[in-house]
Amino acid sequence: MDKIESKKDRTWQKRAIKDGCRKLITWLSAGCALALLAAIFVNIAQGGASLLSWDLLTSDYASATYTYQSSATSATYADPGIADVSYSSAWGVAFKNETSFTGESVVALVYLAPASPIGKLDSKVAVGTYFTKAFLTDANGGTIIALAKDSASGVKDAFEEGKSLASFSITTKGGGIRGSLLSTLLVIAVSLLLSLPLGIGAAIYFAYFAPKKSKIVKILEKMIDVTSGIPSIVFGLIGVAVFIPFSSLFTGVNTGSLLSGCFTLVIILLPTIVKTAEEALDEVPKEYRTASLALGGSERQTLHKIILPTALPGLLSAAVLAAGRIIGESAALVFAVGNVIGDSVALADKNDTLAVEIWSLLAGENPNYRLASAIALIILIVISILSLSAKLLTALFLKKRGHA
């Protein structure tokens, strides 16, 4: 009797240990995955957050340098008394060392006296622009060159010494991602507008109207499965070979444009949209269709009044998935559009999306990791906004249908 009892106890112990091990493995792997994701997020946020600013989002990428010839002479202008700036009272201009929003050290013009001859050079010479260089003449007729790399105090010293100004150059703020951000949103909008109707239409066909036993339908479905696994760079080649000539019919431009990029993305997205939309439609109980038809509804009415509304949450998440894929796509777009960072946002223009800009920033000779991180952070924010708005739409819709 005792023998049997102790054997039973041992079996129980063994089981408890094994279960404990299994639990440990599950918790460990879940913990590792979460830690990894958190590390990625923290890394991006740390690198990019300091650069993230409204200026970065709204400024042009292109910066321009303007040089003005002058014959102005120095005088005396009252010190406005701004702290931590280098003020040249002889010229009525204050310089300050700053870091531009793309992370470079610059000498910014932070104050211009109302009567300062420098402020009168041109309306472009204004507070907020960056000092580049200036040629001045000193009391003895010698030439002084002031350069931005001398830092604010050096530039001030040069100006204090100079008696007359020969030329003055400024650079406008640049490196902003307004163009890339808007291009990204434009590409998302146009690609979704083209691919969602096509993809959902195809999904409706496969889910409801395709003859189930037809060989051709089966082959088509297999092909869709296969195409969703093709690396996007292959589609980039198709973009170059097919969509650049095709979109030039609309844009009149013979090189890559945002439109050719959109067409390429449509092809990349279609298989995923068809699959996810078909799954969403399959989840609608078959009884709804029978019940609707039994009430005298036509197939079309059933589809539009019952099936599509019921599948809407799933269809919306298909759209969000697709938008996520668009925003993250770089390889195909480098081919189909090019990696030109520009400020003009139009379908016929060559411009880059945020993901391509990250690629460009890191592929150059002086990779700018901080700016790349800032853009990555913006991508994360845009995706979050898209996904949240889809959730909100679904909630509003469900409420309208009477679900709590």
């Binding site: 009884e287 029978t290 036509s298 009044k305 509304p309 019921t310």
Partner: protein, 249 residues
């Protein structure tokens, strides 16, 4: 006696498999006709022939004919036919929309009623299905939030809103508890004044309680068709007798 449906030498096959063989029977107006028989005997398939739901099955093949008011069924427009022949299914299947929209669905599809007239129709239908008092304060709430029995009555109201002539019921109480079942049975008895009802049931007592005529189907054949009283008291077919006394089924 007036007949709504006249089934004449009707056979139905799904692909190679024939599920109904040479059925001949008549469905009397303003009466309850019950189809009973063991699982797979073809009673649901026969029911679905009356509103041509078998059309949805790609390889279904019908021979013989069914007359609806003396006109062949296959000549009728299925959409029009289904608005005159309503149906209630085994599992309550309200649409995932509000109670009001559920009832208004059929009339809206038919493009008939709007506004106040539709409100009136929805109320009448819910009253007829004995559901109005329970839901009148929450017509805008989802139909899925109701209990099983209420959902089935909502489906009944949804069918009644089409002002049909015939109601087909495919085991309407098999997913319900005894109380909800009792309520549906009471409804059937009150509805037969105005509607012709054909009901498929697994439950022989139910057939005995509510039907005027009973058809016993066995392996795709119509084994016996008679008044319910006669079929249950003195069945002429030994198979019927065996089934009723529980020797198989």
């Amino acid at each position: 006696m007036n007949f709504v449906f006249q089934v004449d030498d009707f056979s139905l096959a799904y692909g190679e498999k024939e599920v109904l063989h040479h059925i001949t029977l008549n469905i009397a107006e303003h009466a309850v006709t019950a189809f009973i028989g063991p699982s797979g005997c073809g009673k649901s398939s026969l029911l679905r022939a009356f509103n041509r739901l078998n059309d949805l099955i790609p390889d279904a093949k019908e021979t013989g004919r069914i007359l609806y008011h003396d006109k062949p069924l296959e000549a009728a427009n299925p959409l029009e036919l289904r608005s005159q022949v309503g149906m209630l299914f085994q599992a309550p299947s309200p649409f995932p929309m509000s109670i009001y929209d559920n009832v208004a669905y059929g009339p809206r599809c038919a493009g008939k009623k709007r506004g106040k007239e539709l409100d009136q129709l929805v109320q009448e239908s819910l009253e007829e299905a004995a559901l109005w008092d329970e839901v009148k304060d929450r017509l805008k709430k989802s139909g899925l939030a109701l209990s099983g029995g209420q959902q089935q009555r909502l489906c009944l109201a949804r069918a009644l809103a089409m002002k049909p002539e015939v109601l087909l019921m495919d085991e309407p109480t098999s997913a319900l508890d005894p109380l909800a079942t009792e309520k549906i049975e009471e409804l059937i008895l009150s509805l037969k004044q105005r509607y012709t009802i054909v009901i498929v049931t697994h439950n022989m007592e139910q057939a005995a309680r509510i039907s005027d005529f009973t058809a016993f189907l066995y392996l795709g054949d119509l084994a016996e068709f008679d008044t319910t009283e006669k079929l249950f008291k003195e069945p002429s077919n030994p198979k019927t007798e065996a089934y009723l006394s529980g020797r198989f089924g």
